[in-house]
Symmetry: D5
Subunit: 92 residues, 10 copies
């Protein structure tokens, strides 16, 4: 079951730089693990913004919510979740 998630990252300018560098490293590792697991099927950067558009493939709303709130950067992100369905013109 597919969902589009748009994530806007808003990190305060006065945050400790070592701390946030560590959070970003964990975020990257976590994201790549979910990609390898087939849960996070696409992630693209929006040009010129500190934001991404992602596609998740999960079993349920609860699973998606658990994955998203476990993101190391979650406290610094605003998310917008859009449930997707099969399009009748899709050849897949």
């Amino acid at each position: 079951m597919l969902f589009q998630v748009k994530m806007d990252v808003k990190i305060p300018n006065d945050i400790d730089q070592d701390y946030i560098a560590e959070v970003k490293a964990k975020e990257k590792a976590y994201s790549q693990q979910l990609q390898r697991d087939g849960k996070w099927v696409h992630i693209w950067r929006i040009v010129g913004e500190y934001a991404n558009i992602s596609i998740f493939d999960v079993e349920s709303n609860d699973e998606l919510h658990d994955l998203l709130t476990a993101l190391p950067l979650f406290p610094y992100m605003e998310m917008q979740v859009t449930p997707l369905a099969k399009h009748y013109s899709s050849i897949k």
Copy 2:
């Protein structure tokens, strides 16, 4: 080069039903041809809306504009185009 395109379809209620059925059939054929050509790489329906989220892979802005304005349903659609870049966490 990837772009996300969100398309909202707004067909007037009083339109001729045979005419619009024909337009939709052409739209489906055109969309599937572009999918087979590798230009229209994803198309998903937004749940509960007459709208889709699509991903296009094109050579240039001009090519994308020509593909989109040639859509048979173009006169009845509102589009929002978002240029995408590679995300540094992507494993692809």
Copy 3:
């Protein structure tokens, strides 16, 4: 799996009154069948608006999309779908 759906009904003033009365009767029957099936678990009217807030319980995004687009009033409605998860304070 629960979703909130907000439905705004916008019926053109110049529509044929017999036709729309028939559509509304079908809508009511269809809604009540889904309620009896346990798919449409709540429906409330928003005070002063031709709009409702509903809760659906479905197996997947595709099932929800099929239920919603089959509504007799669907061509006259704008919908906003919000996926819901279990709240950690809920006693249910």
Copy 4:
């Protein structure tokens, strides 16, 4: 008498962690008491957001206002209250 309440929680990043953990614990206890009392009839988490959609069943606007402003997290929340009426299609 039913009301939908959407609550967005916005806790400052630099708040004292022990303090806010205590506030959240009180919030949970308070919420669950109101649920057992039949005042707070539903609470769902919005997927990917630090926000919930709730349904309250109260005697009056004043009672609802008193319940909401007594929430331990109230100073950190934005609320949107929507009065609900019985829907003519509802089978309840």
Copy 5:
């Protein structure tokens, strides 16, 4: 129990003038009856707009919804309902 209701009137320019004059006359009579009944306690015109701000005093959400949807101009109005509570600074 008090509610503020903001009503915006949007009458199509091509509507039959005799018909709408009759609807407006009924609206005025209905409004004045509710005012004499103590249900519709204030009605003010917004300067420069075809809109009013009103205060209703009712027993329940359902009563308010019934009063509002029975307005002869209801099909041509957009309404925004705000539930009100006693203010701790009020001397009334």
Copy 6:
């Protein structure tokens, strides 16, 4: 001459609690004096929000501006002022 004023109060979380308690006490006294003077004719709390809807009866725009900017909480409020006129359906 009547005006509706919507006041949203936004007090910073880190403000000195004694100071703000004193400001609120002054605000209440000032508001009640204006109510007794017949200038501030209604004040209602919006359910679930730190906001009020008020009706003022003043001689001029300048008098209203002076009253509002003299509110002790003015530096912490956002205001929206709507000029009101007599409604042709009003029985007052």
Copy 7:
């Protein structure tokens, strides 16, 4: 007492051209009479829009409302009224 009024004109494309030409002629005469009377003290066109920004000098909200709703183009306009006060830096 001064008010800024922003007026957006939206005339349907299919309106009778002789009729609307007559309405516009009446509008111009009415506007110029109010300017000569010192009620409508400024009128400027917004560049590139069918809209104006105007300043009115009136005795009361009711007078302003009567002047505005008597505009021949009123049924085709959206208005936004902003009450103005003397600015403490003004040298007038």
Copy 8:
């Protein structure tokens, strides 16, 4: 003196096709004349939209307003005008 103008074209679906084709031909000729005159210095199409972003170089606000309202498609366009100044980083 430079201005950015964003123009959105909204042509009704039921307009006479011969008539609008003639208007578009006149629009193109008029636009190209202004380009040759050095008044309309840039015109770009927004990808996927029936809209353009243009840069005008004129002597005054009045000249710009006259040029824009003389556009054959003006009755079917919404415009947004942004005055531009020299940027201190510009090498021109």
Copy 9:
């Protein structure tokens, strides 16, 4: 050449009070000098807001930009600039 400028002032609550008092004094002197020079032809306070609506009369966009960015309060203001043209109904 006329422009309307709307200025919203947003001064942080924790700013040094002596410093900001000095900035405001400079702002007032600067504003009054521009008024005497005939550049800043009107300034009105918006009732209930820390904001003004002003009319400037300048030779060019660059001159206006230089005047506005030289305002002592500029770092604490949000501005919205609207170019104005002569209205065909104006008697001036």
Copy 10:
């Protein structure tokens, strides 16, 4: 391939003044180098705002994203990117 980029600069009032002066100097040098390289083909200041409208000419979305995120002021800017195509009325 052309893109319009609108950049809004939001620098915190309490930032170190020497630090930000250095960042601005780097920004200017970087911008002028990109202008000389033919990548940043236009940059205009929006009158009265700390914002610019720019036109970039790049080979791909990825190149544009790399150029923009390398801006020294990027952490203090909000960007909006609009892909542009050739307009059929353009004489270039």
